[in-house]
Symmetry: C2
Subunit: 471 residues, 2 copies
């Protein structure tokens, strides 16, 4: 074969397609090449394009493909498909893919994974499918996964991997290194090893860098860290995430109720939790659940509807307050024109304070110790901004309706409502938290109720008194 001909064969045009464009989104040309290969059932081509992708890229790719293409993609890739990719997709996509694949194929795919990834994929399936897939697994894997699935949802036990390296306290650094060189079923990535007694009770941990920096003949116990902030398997993932974040952890031992080592949590799982938790507050405050871009219309409509109906209650309550003053408004229609301003300013100010309070509670920066200081500050901020806004809006109302009295009335109402906004924005989340209600979910309904009711009542009430109008 001539060199030129060989080159032609060796350099298929596709090999050069970058996976991501400069915005780090999946490259359009790459997606099209994948889709073409799927359409042509071109197995070698698809393997060439996708077999060596990082699981995260494969995950994004799956999200991008159409539902039918996903199944074909996995089928064509065969053993080249890394099931870890399913941990990197939306829940909706993952469930759809799992639905389309035969249970024995899934079981085979899961067999190669670290236990935390396998659990992640299995946990959202319904019990029946879960059982059917577990049935296909070898006994040891099945027992391990079942045990992890027995821990509560969103607990450390669900997120941990059961693969870890544990050595006896009398081992030397050299023995430990030799063991790692020989052992087969090691976890994919690990950052520390653990020292346990014969009952697997955790004695300490040793970072890999410490092992590497220590002479072979030293005992592992001499370099192990005994500061045992081990995570309990039943602990909530949010608490664990906070600890990882606070203490800059990269991995942590997980122990059962008898202090026995049962698994390891690594920061990559925790990073997802940290982001989810920060995002959960954002979504909760806006009244959207954990919906995902790929969820169905009905799922989304239903979950959002609940929130809208709750808010409808608030809105109707505000209307009832307005209705108390219907004769006042009839006598002076300018009040109807201006009243939304009072409510809306209060609502915005309340949301500002509430957002800070909700995050302060979540990150524990807001505590009993600084509450009085923060409360004083909120009152001052509300007064300052209230007076400034009252001035601005008062002048506007005066000029617009040629009525200095109206300016005074709306100014006074604004100051009152801003004060209530600041107080309720801070106190409502704190009170909800005291009663163990998630402040992110419930606060904004209460805060808007306060600012709407107080806003309309103060404005229309003061106006009725000031102008001697009927009500």
């Amino acid at each position: 074969m001539s060199e030129a001909a060989e080159l032609e064969i060796m350099a298929p045009e596709a090999a050069a397609i970058p996976v991501r464009d400069e915005d780090e989104r999946l490259n359009r040309a790459f997606i099209e090449a994948i889709e073409a290969a799927i359409a042509d059932e071109d197995q070698p081509k698809l393997s060439e394009l996708a077999a060596n992708l990082h699981e995260a890229d494969t995950g994004d790719l799956l999200e991008t493909l159409d539902a039918e293409e996903r199944a074909a993609f996995i089928r064509l890739l065969g053993n080249d498909f890394d099931y870890t990719a399913l941990t990197e997709t939306d829940e909706a996509v993952r469930l759809q893919v799992l639905e389309d694949l035969p249970n024995e194929v899934i079981a085979e795919g899961l067999g190669d994974l670290d236990s935390d990834d396998a659990v992640y994929i299995l946990e959202d399936l319904d019990e029946e499918d879960q059982a059917a897939i577990l049935e296909e697994l070898p006994y040891a894997d099945r027992a391990q996964l079942k045990k992890a699935l027995d821990y509560p949802e969103e607990s450390a036990g669900r997120r941990m991997q059961s693969e870890f390296i544990a050595v006896a306290p009398f081992w030397t650094v050299g023995q430990t290194i030799d063991y790692m060189r020989e052992a087969r079923d090691l976890p994919d990535d690990f950052y520390e090893i653990y020292v346990v007694d014969p009952t697997f009770k955790l004695l300490g941990s040793v970072h890999l860098d410490k092992i590497l920096r220590t002479k072979r003949d030293r005992k592992v116990t001499s370099i192990m860290s005994e500061r045992l902030d081990a995570v309990e398997a039943t602990e909530d993932q949010e608490e664990v995430a906070r600890r990882f974040e606070r203490y800059n952890l990269v991995s942590s031992a997980v122990v059962d109720e008898n202090d026995r080592l049962v698994g390891v949590l690594t920061v990559d799982d925790i990073v997802d939790v940290i982001q989810e938790e920060a995002e959960e507050d954002l979504r909760a405050l806006a009244g959207v659940g954990d919906e995902e871009i790929s969820d169905s219309v009905m799922t989304i409509a239903r979950s959002r509807f609940v929130w809208l109906v709750v808010n409808l209650g608030t809105a109707v309550l505000a209307s009832v307050v307005i209705a108390l003053f219907d004769e006042t408004i009839e006598a002076m229609v300018a009040l109807a024109v201006l009243m939304p301003i009072v409510a809306s300013m209060g609502g915005n100010a309340g949301t500002q304070t509430m957002t800070v309070a909700v995050r302060g509670i979540a990150t524990q920066e807001l505590s009993a110790r600084n509450m009085v200081r923060v409360l004083n500050r909120e009152v001052l901020v509300s007064m300052l901004n209230g007076v400034a806004l009252a001035f601005l809006i008062g002048i506007t109302a005066w000029i617009w309706f040629q009525s200095p009295g109206l300016g005074v009335v709306i100014g006074a109402a604004i100051i009152i409502n801003m004060l209530f906004a600041g107080l309720s924005g801070l106190l409502i989340p704190i009170i909800l938290d005291k009663f163990n209600v998630d402040p992110a979910i419930a606060s904004s309904v209460f805060v808007t109720t306060v600012t709407d009711v107080v806003g309309f009542f103060a404005f229309l009430g003061i106006a009725a008194l000031w102008f001697g109008l009927p009500f």
Copy 2:
């Protein structure tokens, strides 16, 4: 000495105080013990209590103490104070502490830190203080920190540590391990080492676990990973964080424009960035800047005021729309009672969609490819929820005001406003993003404007037409 007497001396009551209570907040008794030791200028006592704290605990403790106590705490602890703790406090607390300490004391404290921590502490100071502190540092440290500070704010270069382990490509695993056992100035924690050519051009990286699992005589190049997704020093930290998150990285090499290794980013720095970025969206949507629990009244009032004034514009615009229909309202005051419901339902629905869209854009889950699908879905969700709400509210209005016509009018207005809410909630963030405006900051003003204006206009306009009222 009798055994009992010895025990008495050996067991000071304070030694047993746990640092955190069961809610993982700093323990009140612990804080009080610290404060007492500061008040008594009791140096040994304070060291006993605080010298071995984790830097994160010391950071939280500093935030909790009063301003005067902080300086005394650091002065009394002396060399036992770990300046890394300053990376774990609010910016306001950090600046106050640095203000109160003499520059040469700060310089001495920074000398022991990894470069990323030192940069983190220095970067918020004004140029003059920065220069004064750098002046006090030994030449090598000064040059290193200056170089890092020259990188743009929020870039990888600012977050990286300049301490790393780099070996030549011809080294064996054994040589590398021996080198690590001997070397002195190693970074505090590291997870991989790097292979560089004589010009320090990055050739590859090797995870520590791989070194430990490999026989001593193998070349490092044979186990190094060449998948070089090294971060550029000028890259924005948010982009870098996304990459860490996507690819589950624990550390990454940082290179300059010539591909030469200049530093290492570790996941603990990136975790903070990930949380900050998710929280930034939340704060931006609510119109609060990056204020912190410890900020002053004026700082907070000012930053929130801007947002309130912008929203005042929106509110006034809504009032102008209402004013167009003042005669309509005068003729039928029930309209004034009901109109906030229409605006408020639209506002809530718009916020829901907008929140999902803003996060979808930030996490790149919402892209050109799935936009049409998401748009169709939003329209459907809006219509479904719009019709359901219209029904609920229509019936309510009918019964309340004994007017079926009013029920029809408000129902129609709700459906229209919900549709506009869904469309604007999705499209406004997308359009802002296209024009490189941060959708989190600007979206909600525009969306509320749309839902207020459309809500009032649709409701009052349809009412005027339906009932033949003046306008």
